[in-house]
């Protein structure tokens, strides 16, 4: 953790840094380090200006698929709507994981 991050942690009321938590806990700090699941929605979001040009095209594609999904949903065809939503989500996942 950087010193800036540690300072920000201390500024949060009732917040303990990992080190402070371990000091108060009866358990040691376990060595686990399983990477956090990536889906881009846990407190993060994709913004167009943060995506390079080739990725921006993908983002546009995902947005279009989502809109098509909305259109199918409005027409009452839920199966097609879900298929379009899933395709859109798959592209978003690729963008986040790349």
């Amino acid at each position: 953790m950087t010193s800036r991050a540690a300072a920000a942690d201390r500024a949060e009321p009732g917040f303990l840094s990992p080190e402070e938590f371990t000091a108060q806990s009866i358990f040691p700090a376990f060595s686990i380090n399983v990477p956090m699941p990536q889906r881009g929605t846990a407190g993060a979001s994709i913004t167009a200006d943060a995506v390079p040009i080739d990725r921006a095209a993908r983002l546009q594609q995902a947005t279009l698929l989502q809109k098509l999904g909305d259109a199918w949903k409005a027409n009452g065809d839920n199966a097609k709507a879900i298929a379009h939503y899933e395709a859109s989500l798959a592209i978003m996942n690729l963008l986040v994981e790349a």
């Binding site: 949060e12 399983v34 913004t47």
Partner: protein, 175 residues
Amino acid sequence: MGETAGGGRASELHWQQLEQLKASSVLIRLYRNQLGKRIQAIEVIKAVASSGAIGGWVIWKHIPFVWAAIIVAAQVIDALKGVFPFSREHRAASELTMALETLLINAELEWEGLFAASVSASDIMLRRARLQRLQLQAEHQHFPEGRNPPQGLIDVASRQATAYLLNYRSGQGRS
């Protein structure tokens, strides 16, 4: 953009807290099981030394040193029960196991909510702080004097928690 970066870091810290909680939950369960086996062994020795005294003496009178060893072991156990309060520890470990496992179920459910929805970094931090507070409260309630679990159990708990979280992570990736 700052919110995005903060949210990412907050999520990372929340995930790490979940990792520690899972490992703690596994460790206290292993510790409870170990204490349970010790209590069972002690009870067997005490039962052999007390209730079977008369019958045992008749059977084993030709090997008195075995009998004497059992009696001595039972007396040592009685003398040391204040120093190694296995029963009290076992009860505390059992209660903490239930508390942490319940907390873990809630924390995983909360993580699913964070994973699926766009939640602000400050909100994630508050949820993580609450998770920390609840875990520490449970620990201090059941082990007010603290406890140093054996290193062997810590290693096993780390391995089991890692395997569980890798599995959990791949399950989330598919969803």
